[in-house]
Amino acid sequence: MLAPAVRPATRVDHLLIAEMVEAGSRVLDVGCGDGALLQLLADTKQVDGRGIEVSRERVNACVARGLAVIQGDADRDLVDYPDDAFDYAILSLTIQATRQPKAVLEQLLRIGRRAIVSFPNFGHWQVRATLAFTGRMPVTENLPEAWYVSPNAHLCTIKDFADLCRLVGARVERAVAFNASGQQLGTWIPLTVHNLMGEKAVFMLTRRWAG
């Protein structure tokens, strides 16, 4: 019934997330944008999905296509949800745009039994090279805006994010990095190489603390 018009090519990180999520589970997608991931999860995994999105226009478009989405943002609205409200709390290419990434990650781990976080890797060699050789903030496919219009406030590398996970007591169940052509890097490759070759990364986390 929700006959999709021409759908843009599905993002590789979305496909991976769809593979991680168990069928029929309860999912919250924080920063759900146009609802592409929620739609993918509904179509392929029959999830009970909800979304939060900051842009009013995108929210209205999501609701008009039948997705359960509210206008809100990660910094302000996650505190309302009860513990373990969802099987998965997903933050897809959004954490770098939040005001308080640490607090947001802690909230995700509280309201979801699992948290799935994807983010652009600021440690990617192209980013490093641009900064090293031009002396300017990089503008890449994953970081398309100039620094003065970019919503990204807290960019990090894969190593940085792994440190944050340790800091908040999250267990990394799975971590996957994608190279520039959208291929997953092998898990046998050391973290340092992931951090150099990965353009974006997807982490699946659980909390270590009880409850």
């Binding site: 929700l2 009013r56 209205n60 609701v63 008009a64 509210i70 009860p82």
Partner: protein
């Protein structure tokens, strides 16, 4: 004027407003004395009547019913000609064949609220104990009472669970109350341009309106019907003041500016020189032609008393504990009567119980009244939400080309 036998006087009345209040031209049910309504004020009301209109067909599974709850001065004539004014239904942009609330797909029920004046029992109805119009002897009712009074209607129609309850403003309050008091009977709920409690400023505006009515000598302590008079001026002023709150400064400025009405220059008098004055006077006078002054007092009071959080230990989330209803909360950017932050409070409470909730804020400069007007984003949201909910409920898909 016949003060000796008001029942006869009312029966003989040629005033279509009085006739509709006594014997509605729409359908109605009379709830018998054996099923009294326990009001929130702790009085019992029985028998009582609920007048209603239906549109579309109830399906065999009785699963496609949508209850439309009307606002303060609305009534059951949501999508058909009004019997007193002859005007089109008040929500024909939303309800009808092929509309977002598609009457070719859904069975739409719209009751006149308890306390109203279009055939449901209210202060203009005859009090069986005295044979006179209830007037101020009518008990003070609440939004909860309005909703509870609709339950026997839904039973009468053979509907276990409403597919949807939808409404704006006071209609939205009824939606919230339905979803709170009768959780199992509401599959999805769409509260529009509303709040979980009535703010101090809104109570203040209502009080101005009520005082205007009561200051009219023709109000006669609420006994105007049996005396054959009516407080036209008071009710018109109440409506004028209220109408301002339904608009926005921007909309008023755009529509009227400082334009003069039918005069070339200021007349240095208190005539309606300005278009906006003329417009408000018109709003006032057409309103009194169709509405009962005491109903206005009772219904505004019910709205004032509405506070869903207070009913649940001051925690709004408790009102929705255990809910399985799917919600779509809607607000408008320029609505200062029920601003977006009040809708957001409802959303936060629903999040706190992990309810299935959508929330859209529609950009409009038309103020509170936007929910009644041509707002394509509103229609798209309601249509999309209802389609998705209908799919979950296992209703037949919308016909092609109707999306």
């Amino acid at each position: 004027m016949n003060t000796a036998n008001p029942r006869e006087f009312l029966a003989a009345s040629k005033d279509p407003r009085v006739l509709e209040a006594q014997t509605p031209s729409s359908d109605y049910i009379d709830v018998p004395e054996s099923r009294p309504l326990r009001l929130d004020c702790n009085r019992l009301l029985a028998p009582y009547r609920i007048a209603y209109k239906t549109y579309g067909k109830l399906n065999a599974a009785r699963s496609n019913a949508i209850l439309v709850a009307h606002a303060l001065t609305g009534d059951q004539h949501v999508a058909s000609c009004h019997p007193v004014t002859g005007k089109p239904g008040w929500w024909e942009t939303m309800v009808g064949p092929g509309k977002p609330i598609d009457t070719e797909r859904f069975f739409v029920v719209c009751p006149n609220v308890l306390g109203g004046c279009m055939g449901s029992t209210g202060p203009a109805s005859i009090n069986p104990a005295t044979g006179k119009p209830w007037g101020l002897d009518f008990p003070v009712i609440t939004i909860g009472d309005m909703v509870d009074a609709q339950v026997p209607l839904i039973d009468h129609l053979g509907i276990d669970q409403l597919f949807c309850v939808i409404g704006g403003s006071m209609g939205g309050m009824q939606v919230l109350q339905w979803a709170s008091r009768h959780k199992e009977r509401v599959f999805c709920a769409v509260p529009i341009a509303t709040a979980a409690w009535h703010s101090s400023q809104n109570i203040a505006f209502h009080e101005v309106g009520r005082q205007a009515v009561m200051a009219d000598p023709n109000w006669a302590q609420g006994r105007y019907l049996e005396l054959g008079i009516e407080p036209r001026n008071g009710l018109a002023v109440a409506r004028m003041a209220a109408h301002i709150t339904y608009l926005s400064e921007e909309a008023l400025q755009r529509k009227f500016g400082r334009n003069l009405q039918d005069v070339a220059a200021k007349t240095f008098s208190f005539n309606a020189d300005f278009q906006v004055e003329s417009y408000l006077r018109h709003q006032g006078s057409t309103f009194v032609d169709r509405f009962d002054a005491n109903s206005y007092l009772y219904i505004t009071r019910a709205i004032d008393y509405f506070d869903l959080a207070a009913e649940h230990g001051d925690v709004l989330a408790n009102a929705f504990k255990g809910t399985r209803t799917r919600f779509c909360v809607v607000s408008f950017t320029s609505d200062w009567l029920y601003p977006t932050r009040e809708s957001r409070e409802i959303v936060h409470a629903l999040n706190a119980v992990a309810a299935n909730v959508s929330f859209v804020e529609i950009e409009s400069d038309k103020g509170h009244d936007a929910f009644l007007l041509d707002e394509p984003e509103l229609f798209a949201a309601v249509r999309g939400f209802l389609n998705a909910a209908a799919e979950k409920r296992g209703l037949e898909p919308a016909r092609e080309g109707r999306r």
